[in-house]
Amino acid sequence: MELTVLGQPAQPASQGGCSSSGCGGSSDQLSHLPEHIRAKVHNHPCYSEDAHHHFARMHVAVAPACNIQCHYCNRKYDCANESRPGVVSELLTPDQAVKKVMAVAANIPQMTVLGIAGPGDPLANPERTFETFRQLTEKAPDIKLCVSTNGLSLPAQVDELCKHNIDHVTITINCVDPEVGAKIYPWIFWNNRRIKGRKGARILIEQQQKGLQMLTERGILVKVNSVMIPGVNDQHLEEVSKVVKAKGAFLHNVMPLIAEAEHGTFYGVMGQRGPTHDELQALQDKCAGDMNMMRHCRQCRADAVGMLGEDRGDEFTMDKVEAMDIDYEEAMVKRAAYQADIEKKLEQQQLEQQKKAKGNFVSLESLGVKKQPRPVLMAVATTGGGVINQHFGHAKEFLIYEASATDVRFIGHRKVELYCAGGDTCGDGESVLAKIIRTLDGCEAVLCSKIGYEPWEQLEESGIQPNGEHAMEPIEDAVAAVYAEMLEKGLAEKPVRQPLQASA
């Protein structure tokens, strides 16, 4: 299938400066990519930060087997309340998966992407994975297909992959040094043997690097995922970023380790901690010098459905899907119209923002600001669409933006819900609001559509200024406006807490 180039971006890819919603975090990612790559990812929520506000994806869990063990994974785990990779509620056959995809795509017109990501390794289940892709290419040619892999059997499968119209592949690469690898991968299954320790890690690394190169030589877009594990590979990931960029990966996604004892993983049980928000951001910023960084990943389940921040999997269990009466042809037409509409709106938004760009950012002289302004972190409550449209109390996650005198950039998201929502084991007496406030540590403002009196007071007491004045406004405009106000009041001049990471 030939990919249609929709909505040519309003500004050339190479143009510098900050003038649209493509600035800051987004431009870190995409704006300096060649046009043909931008055309491929502009509506892919997992590859484009802009797109993730507007488009949806789903994973189908057709691939249960795995050929390696990672210390952050537990193959026994299956919990409805869990949200992390490798977890699913029901395993599907390829036929069931195709039915589910068609049903979801008919009900969620924002859906552009279908991925296979587990719960094992998709390429360790080649028949199930490729049968699913084969049927979908035929029945839903408008849906982009992608696959995530640990890379071990990638070189052996590259030719088959290329036959299936897959133009996005994600490889999880946590290291390029077997010494480091031996602390992450206890064993791999290779050439009919279980191989442990350093030797296994070395083979895995070789295959990952070989597979990466083979894919990029064939023109397939490769994103590299890395799990940041403090004390294990945190110092090493900068090097990984350099190596994978040199081999042609176009995007690097450094994700925080998720490790809790109740997950039963090696890291969870052994008490290995995940990185703090600051540590993660610092590493992402370091790697950003060499590589397009991705910061909006939600580390979703292998059966996730919907926009990135949400999971609508419950609405599409197999028994519900079987009972749905759907006109697939009509659904595809509707979907195309709906998505064309989004594209049009986005283009318009971009043009408008370009027009008023100069006014967006703060002219320091005009404000009479003499001291050096400092960057400020702000949290945003949104349900999608790129605007501030969520009630503070309804937010399950906040998007974090950094405003500075030169730009507004997206730097990540923070979940406010615990991974396990179950009552007994998690009750530590801390109120939900106190937890949210702790989650927002380092932020100085929170922008939402509305907020109640009690949280308002407590946020203020904690040094986080609630703001409901920018409801339905585009996020970056609102953040810039609030920052301008802070500058004017002299609130953004010198560090109130500790000095914050300055944007480059």
Partner: protein, 99 residues
Amino acid sequence: MAYEIIETCVNCWACEPLCPSNAISLPPIGASAERSFFRIDAQKCTECEGDFADAQCASICPIEGAILNSFGEMANPPGSLTGIPPERMAEAMAEMQAR
């Protein structure tokens, strides 16, 4: 002489395509059972002799204790695959129960 899969199997399918004797299958759920899990046909299992140096099912299985050898011993005892020392696992379980 045969290997055996027991009920701690998580149905990940990894072993099934590897068996050189096609001895592994997932039986349909019986009337009384809540779930089914993979089984090895003892008549067919050769322990991979003549085909591979190591028993294939036991070499890819990710679950400690889920596969028994012909002596009824765990092919992959606790700690051998995850690297979690069994004592530490017991401690962690106790800590979680106490919470």
